[in-house]
């Protein structure tokens, strides 16, 4: 539980402060893994296997999300030649 909370907080901070979109993306994956640890821990504590099944679903969804996300990052990089979010400034307000 504590491990998962720590991972979650590291992930959230990573998303907030890092400027490189790949690292932000990795931070989001970190949060998803925090959720998985949480689910499995609860599952063991409650002697109930719903949590483990859920964790497998989360892994599958995270993989799909990574595929789509990297595709979008690639399309973005081809247009702008940068991976820095400070240069995403075509639209404001």
């Amino acid at each position: 539980m504590l491990l998962s909370a720590a991972l979650f907080i590291i992930g959230v901070i990573g998303v907030m402060v890092r400027r490189n979109i790949i690292i932000i993306f990795m931070s989001i994956e970190l949060i998803l893994n925090a959720v998985n640890i949480n689910l499995v821990a609860f599952s063991a504590q409650l002697q109930n296997n719903v949590g483990q099944v859920f964790a497998i679903f989360v892994v599958a969804v995270a993989a799909a999300e990574a595929a789509v996300g990297l595709g979008i990052i690639l399309a973005f990089y081809r247009n702008k030649e940068t991976v820095n979010i400070d240069e995403m400034n075509l639209m404001k307000w």
Partner: protein, 480 residues
Amino acid sequence: MPSSLNAIVPMACVTAAAIAAMVAEAFREPGERMPIGPLGIIGLAGAAIASIALWHHNATSFGVVAADKFGLFVTGILIIIGVLSLAISAPAIERERLPQGEYYALMLFALAGMMLMATATDLLVIFLALEVLSLAVYVLTGIRRDSPVATEAAFKYFLLGAFSSAFFLYGIAFTYGLTGSTRLDRVGSLIAAQAMAPTPMQLIAVGLLIVGFAFKVSAVPFHMWTPDAYEGASPAVTGFMSTGVKAAAFAAFFRVFLTAFDPLHAVWWEVVWVMAAATMIVGTVVGVAQTSVKRMLAYSSIAHGGYLLVALVSANDAAKGAVLFYLLAYAVTNIGAFGVITLMENTSGDRPNDQIRDFAGLWNEHPALAALMTIFLLSLGGFPPTAGFIAKWYVFTAAVNAGYYWLAIIGVLTSVISVFFYLRIVVMMYMTPSDTPARFPLVPRIAGAALVVSAVIIVYLGVLPARVLDWAVASISSIF
């Protein structure tokens, strides 16, 4: 067919159409034209027939998908959204040379996810449905791959969407830890059975789930992605995602918070109250300052999300019926408005034609389009006799009945302010002469028909709301 599969027939039809669209695109000879759009319409028609057949049966599949009347009503709204979106997408696909097989397949997959989200009764299935629809919509946002604006919009949407899904998931994990189940009915009864004073873990679970849903329905302060994503995407896609995603997310939001977390209403209503008020105010006030029609409508859709949150806070019977009516009215209106913008963009010029001043002189050039846009804008602003007026009327009545007077007052005031920016476009269309004449496009027949249909639905709902409202009330009474 085993009866346990009945409840998922509507989304199975749509998924089959999506797969068929993908296969058709893969086997298409270069240069060959294929009617992939009509394929989607066939799938949606199948879903509509299945939904009507299921209306009185209260079917459930595997205990996690319930085709109750609430879910089927939202499914019906989603089918209408799907048909109208497919119809107005055609000119955008032609003009931008988008890959039509992928476009339609993604739209249909997103619709299947939305239907699943509206009918799911298990947190795991709600999460999966949320991801199905989100992943499809992220890609649709960025489907104009060579446009820097579209890819930037898709990326921002993706990043914040994935971030919010993670919060949502963390909330589910705590709910599971709290109750040992992810089924909404069991979660609800177990939370009701636990001690009356809310424990920290309950608060964490509810808070994280609220954050997750608030991102999806773009409630303030989690609305930052909305204007960018709506501006960057092709307007036909924007019309689709501003209505479909919102309808599905609100359906799940209501189902989760009014069944599983209803025992904790005393805990979450204040948070949602503040969010509803902030959403209405920010959506309207920032909307006034916009010069792009798309961004203006993005803020308007944020404000409409606020009105729906008012109904969630009120949580009485009138509010629950009003929500479904509001979602329907908002869906046809907003798709209509974005359909007009799609047609406006459909010119040969390089500029997207989406500034408010680009609407100048539309009445002289194209009176029918101007008249339709007027109906949509008046309905968004809540003028009688349109659907928007009746919908807002019921939501605010519900808020007053539940004793939330301030929320109703804020709602009415922000509606009045919002009329200002809707009328600005109307004034532009009718009273300002155009500086560069003959920029306006011819209207393709199917898209034009879709716009007329949505205008007719708006006026019908505005003049004779009773029957649809009865359905809405009947469908809500079946679950809550």
